[in-house]
Amino acid sequence: MVSSRKTIRIGNGAGFWGDQLDAPRLLAEQGELDYLTLEYLAELTLSILAHQRQRDADLGYVTDFPTVVRSMVALLRSQPELKIITNAGGMNPVSCARAVSQVLCESQLESIQVAAVSGDDLLPRLDELIADGETFEHFENNQPMTDIREKLTSANAYLGAAGIVSALSDGARIVITGRIADASLVVGPAVFEFGWSWDDWDLLASATTTGHLIECGAQVTGGMFSGWSSDANFRLDRIGYPIAELSTEGGCVITKPAGTDGRVDTATVSEQLVYEIGDPESYLTPDVAADFSHVQLEQIDTDRVRVANCRGAQRPSEYKVSMSYAEGYSGAGTLVVAGPDAIGRARACESAIRSRLERIGDLPEHVAFEYLGTGDVVSGVMVREANPPEVVLRAVARDPSRDVIDRFLRELAPLVTSGPPGVTGYTGARPRSIPVLGYWPSSIHRSHVHSQSTVLSAKDCCNG
């Protein structure tokens, strides 16, 4: 289906799992959107979700999303054309779709169709894929995957936009995917609405560039902006989340709802264009190889920036695969050390922890101490503070044994009474050890991955 629209408005109300919970609702209320996208999955989020699904087969998705849908019930009713596209499905898009349908049923919105797009989870198919010749070598150092095979906790292909287009064509109003290239959340609706062909590389690149610009939410509307200044009239309290107006001929305008804080100008948009990229001439997604290097930005009005000159080339013949594997445990805790010679006092704390643990042979394999407030955040590079009135001492460790990490974390609190003077800031619960996940980027041939779109009838969930 191709609509007769010349432009569509897509707003992104989430840049990661944990982003402002009311942003999606506020953006949809103010944004006059055709589509709301919500991006939740960082590189390692899926392994956390895999762990949750292991413990409960109905979990493993971003539980914020059904909560967001509940907050938007009135809007879904008053804006019958509004559609939502999200990767909240994580390791379990079908269960997420079921949970969302349940919310819709409870709100007498059971006519809304919810689709789950799956096929990205490769872990159950690993033996079969290896038998078919896939090796999953490490993308950068070509290490064989057999090195970590026994410790794998997740393996997902980054899917492209095709599954979303298929779900929308099937009539879905809410589309829930698992792992998918972030920018594909925008490419999907663009291809569906404008009827672009899958080899119109410049147009696909244009939607991909747009998706990249809005995928991190408020990072394009003034958040994180290095040109921000505390004495300028540059408020961020009620920052507006981004809206992209995509044109059927390619290109877009980035803007935000009127009356919100933050800023959309060529500088804030430039900073998001360069965010987390490698070679700007070849930003690879399963849909296209987009070229950001010649993208041009023009301020056409207050808080409106036109994005033009997006070019694209043939998409890669492989999908990127993101694997994670168990690599022991880590834990971190902090102490505040105040007073004259704060650094010297903090050093004495470090020394006490190290020597006590060495004596009992329980010093973790990897230990680090950071003296926050002295310039240690980018150690040796930032301008140093030689004699600060206070220091946050951050102690952090990693080890194959959870017991060793727990033992390490016990060492912090006693320094309040047994350490040098001025040690404070140790209240609340003892910090906890957490599993460490290694990241293993790899690839797989396209023909070995099949995305499926399943449209749920919310009515079935009403009875269940």
């Binding site: 290095s226 040109g227 998001q272 965010y275 690599e327 240690d376 955040v377 590079v381 996940l437």
Partner: protein
């Protein structure tokens, strides 16, 4: 080209450019965007991959690559293996490299004759 001061003023990278950094697996990137086209030309010669690698030497980058983005007047630096194992394994507080841009912008830069044309334009 003078060196380090203009009418007694010391020039820093943040006077002539803005930047954003983040992570990509074990690597980090810093995109440096010149405020003006004069600044973009100046940085072409001055802010080489070697200069950036040297400034960030304490972080032991394995390799630094530089890419030009003439459309927006920027240079993208990819810092290989700088995050000590990446977002999950790194012990450091800035395991995702978010603060690298702020650190790089503290760099002192030489002061060419046309330095005033490189400053952030008035709003």
């Amino acid at each position: 080209m003078g060196s380090g001061s203009a009418n007694g003023r010391v020039l820093h990278l943040h006077d002539i450019a803005h930047a954003r950094s983040g992570d990509k697996g074990n690597h980090a990137n810093i995109g440096v965007i010149a405020w003006t086209s004069v600044g973009f030309e100046f940085l072409d010669d001055f802010l080489t991959a070697e200069v950036v690698a040297d400034f960030l030497r304490p972080l032991n980058p394995h390799r630094v690559e530089r890419f030009r983005m003439p459309g927006i007047g920027a240079y993208n630096f990819v810092l290989h293996n700088v995050l000590a194992g990446g977002a999950s394994r790194s012990l450091l507080i800035d395991s995702q490299g978010k603060a690298l841009a702020s650190a790089l912008l503290q760099m002192e830069v030489p002061t060419p004759d046309e330095w005033e044309q490189m400053l952030k334009p008035y709003e």
